[in-house]
Every structure is written in C-alpha cells, then in structure tokens.
Subunit: 101 residues, 2 copies
C-alpha cells in the first residue's frame, strides 16, 4: 500500500534560490536511485516563500531506503545552513482524492 | 500548462473528523463536476492535526471554475465554524519532480 510523505521547508532570508536548486538536484537523484519512490513533487509557494515536497512511496521499505540514501543525507546536510527552521517531515494519510493522469 | 494549488486547513479542537468528512465529500464533488481538475489529493498529517489538499488543474480557467463552483462554496461555508483559522490556499509552482504511476 502506498505511503504518503509531506516535507515542508522554509528557506532562511536570501536562500530561496539555493534551497530550490538543492531540491531540484535531490529530485533527480531520487528518480535515478529510488525505484520505490513513485511520486515526488517539489512545490514552491511564492506567497509564503516555502517549499513543500509531496512524496509517494511503494511501501514503508521504500520510505526507509529513502531516509538511509546517501543523496538524501547529503542534501539535508547541505541545506541545514540555508533553512530558517529544521524541515518538517511527516508520514501522512491520504483520506480522499483522485488522479486523472 | 498544469496549475498547482495547495490548500492547508487546521481544524478547531474536536473537529478533525468533521472537517475530514467534509473534505471527502468535496473531493467526490470535484471529481464528479470538474473535468478540469486532474489531480486532487486530500492528506491528513496526524502529528500536526492538519489537512493539506494537493490539487492540479488543466489551466487557470479550471482553477476559476473550481473557485466559482457551488459545491466548493458550500463546503467552505460549512467548514468555516470547524476550522481554527481561515484556510490557506495558494497557486504554487512545481519546480521539480516525477510521477511513476
């Protein structure tokens, strides 16, 4: 059963571009290295100056593999100084909805 | 070009179930009545007791149709007393990511 994860990041003053570039790199590395990740959407909310990553994994093993992946650990280490607060990351429940893709 | 919208809602004390039920109904009505909405994911973050709706529309006309739709106006009127704060709704930019569906 798919596992949904939402990550929320607020860049520090003047760091919006840098955090965005890091997230683009991370998205490419996740696509390349994590077959268990079936959806990864990096979203920028201009009005709020924040990034939200909406992630869907095949199962909890794929979530664990993501957490342990070197490219993920590197990205978070790199982003640490560029974020106003630590990222908020949570496994969430999808309670309703549809895709017409 | 697809338009991405994120809506964030924090239920008032004791209203989590009620808001969730309202969002399930809204998701069904959007699917039924809005062909321009191509993705609608209603997400509940238990740790935070909040709902995030991740929405994708065919174009800005579809976003306008959504805002004007009776089922949307009714849902927000109904939810007004059950939310701790007004919902935060923003058109956002998808800067990176992939779907393997």
């Amino acid at each position: 059963m798919s596992v949904y994860v939402v990550a929320f990041m607020k860049p520090a003053e003047g760091k919006i571009e840098e955090v965005g570039a890091g997230l683009k790199e991370l998205a490419a590395a996740v696509k390349e290295n994590e077959p268990g990740c079936i959806q990864y959407d990096v979203i920028f909310a201009k009005e709020h100056g924040s990034y939200t990553v909406f992630e869907v994994y095949k199962d909890m093993e794929a979530v664990a593999a993501h957490k342990e992946a070197a490219h993920v650990k590197e990205a978070f280490a790199q982003a640490a100084e560029s974020l106003a607060d630590p990222p908020m990351i949570a496994v969430v429940d999808k309670i309703a909805g549809f895709h017409r893709h």
